[in-house]
């Protein structure tokens, strides 16, 4: 089966900066794919390479089997939802949504009908007459989505689509985007620096750092079985354990990771385990996050709310199941 998007050794250099560095990537048709990474990690440049706003310095990009180098954005059947939406301020909502059809010379009645349908799809029917300036952030986001979807793209690119929305709205839009993608069956590729968003929405996640892909896998893979210290640390802030520590529990001299929720904390009197000191407690609602210091090794634990806890500064012992200790590929 041909990939929706495929990168072969793709690099994009800006002067001496390697924004994207020899990336290989295959995204399946109909997949909901997330590019996750800190800012400056190359994820947005990858998105712009697919959209055609950037050209690769070297390597090859294909979209549904067709070579895309040198093809301008307006000849790619790929549409983008921009981070700040990029709605045309001089056009009303309906003309914004119909823009792609207008430049393809679709008749006025027909394109307005299609735009109306697209607006219904994003649950904004009847908003066509308004100007983008009169809409809230969430509404603008939906208009940007409708404007992209009305063109029936083969691939939809979303650049930090939910970054500018407040928490409640973001959670709603996450669910909506996911169900929309299921209904339409279009390949969605979205860029985010929010690991929670990537894990909850995507079928597969690529974790970027320094222009390279650190790991590609299902959210569960990425979360449970990080391959490198960077992935363990960036995705859900796992505890990264040094090889010496890991050797004591697994017999192997390798870097390890341990999820904060896998650590149990008890008072120092209650038996054996890793001796540590409780540094501080952070109440997070459903859970409480504990900062611990095990003889210089900084660890975090997550315990359910309501657990009886020692006071800050007290000595504690930490226990965990051996099978929760994940060994990483990264050499020691």
């Amino acid at each position: 089966m041909t990939s929706a998007v495929s990168f072969r050794q793709v690099s994009r250099h800006f002067g001496s900066v390697r924004a994207v560095d020899a990336v290989d990537l295959d995204i399946a048709p109909g997949e909901f794919f997330a590019m996750l990474g800190p800012s400056g990690s190359g994820k947005t440049t990858c998105l712009r390479l697919i959209a055609g706003f950037e050209q690769p310095t070297s390597g090859s990009i294909s979209i549904f089997g067709e070579r895309a180098e040198g093809v301008p954005p307006y000849r790619r059947n790929v549409n983008t939802v921009f981070q700040d939406y990029a709605l045309f301020p001089h056009l009303n909502v309906l003309d914004n949504v119909a823009y792609g059809l207008m430049v393809k010379r679709v008749g006025k009645a027909e394109r307005h009908k299609a735009a109306e349908e697209a607006l219904s799809l994003v649950r904004l029917p009847g908003y066509g007459g308004r100007r983008p300036g009169q809409l809230s952030g969430g509404q603008r986001q939906r208009v940007a989505l409708a404007r992209a979807l009305v063109n029936q793209p083969k691939v939809l690119l979303l650049d930090e689509p939910l970054g500018a929305l407040d928490l409640k709205l973001r959670e709603n839009m996450q669910e909506e985007l996911k169900s929309l993608q299921k209904t339409l069956g279009i390949t969605f590729i979205f860029v985010t620096h929010d690991q929670g968003e990537a894990l909850s929405m995507a079928d597969r996640v690529a974790v970027f750092n320094d222009g390279k892909i650190m790991q590609i896998g299902t959210p569960e893979d990425i979360y449970q079985r990080p391959k490198t210290r960077f992935v363990a640390d960036f995705v859900g802030s796992s505890n990264v354990l040094p090889p010496d520590f890991v050797q004591r529990y697994s017999g192997q001299h390798r870097w390890g990771s341990l999820r904060p929720e896998s650590i149990r904390v008890a008072r120092a009197t209650s038996g054996e385990g890793v001796a540590a000191r409780l540094v501080s407690t952070n109440y997070l609602g459903a859970t409480t996050r504990l900062a611990l210091d095990a003889d210089g090794l900084k660890l975090h634990a997550m315990v359910p709310a309501g657990t009886a806890l020692p006071a800050d500064g007290e000595a504690v012992v930490l226990t965990f199941n051996r099978e929760h200790l994940h060994l990483m590929d990264e050499p020691a």
Binding site: F82, P89, Y99, M102, V103, A148
Partner: protein
Amino acid sequence: MTIAALDTNTTPAILPGSGGMRGTLSDLFWRRPQLLLLLMLLPPVLWLGVVYIGSLFALLAQSFFSIDEFSGLINREFTLKTYGDLFQPANLDIILRTVTMAAIVTLASAIVAFPIAYYAARYARGRWKALFYLGVMLPLWSSYLVKIYAWKLILAKEGILTWLLAKLNLLWLLDAWLSLPVVGGNSLSVSFTGTFIVFVYVWLPFMILPVQAALERVPGNLVEASSDLGASPGQTFRNVLFPLALPGIVAGSIFTFSLTLGDYIIPQIIGTSRLFIGQAVYSQQGTAGNIPLAAAFTVVPIVIMGFYLWGAKRMGAFDAL
């Protein structure tokens, strides 16, 4: 642990006033911001209202007087006779010639200015941007008259342009152009073409700067979004860039159009002996001593600009403001 420098126990919650005249005034203006606004606006409003607009109205009032053709004295009674004189064929000719020139100069300025403004707004950074501003503004620093006489030399029959075209074996092109009616003449410096070239040169900065400011405010990602949605560069220009730059173009055209309508020096030095409105005003109030007709002539550009702005507003030129 307390840090002496950060000890908040000894600091007062309300600071004492700085005292004196300045302190009292600052506090007063903070409490009554309208007072400050009034004080700041009073001098310019007085200047604009009394000296500037007032004298303009005094001039316009003159246009409703008439001149006694025998004595040459001004008859200070309300009449529309002077406006009637405006519609004599010779005077209508002047008006039509000036408006046509102003329109063509404006159009040409917009066409020349747009790419320059676009480059400056989208691509020029740092040093290149400074160079752009310098290049655009530099001609404004030198004397207007010097520039016009310089152009007279450039465009003269023995001038550098003729010489250059002769070297390039393109003199036939110039001769063909100069043999055309209306735009032609003995040489470029005594033709309407010459007047046009110098007008465009002199007013160009007034078009470039507002267009550049308008383009500067167009976010770059709108161009990307348009391209992403399938618009070719030409379509992006027509559907996104041009509509968003239109307020700037209109602002620039207000300058180029009204400045051309009123100018009396350029057509006098470069061009034919036929008059433009500015020259008509100059000669009517000077040698002819016909202040009422001169005043009536000055009303013409004001009325034309009024219609121009009204038309521009109706076309939606200010919608994106």
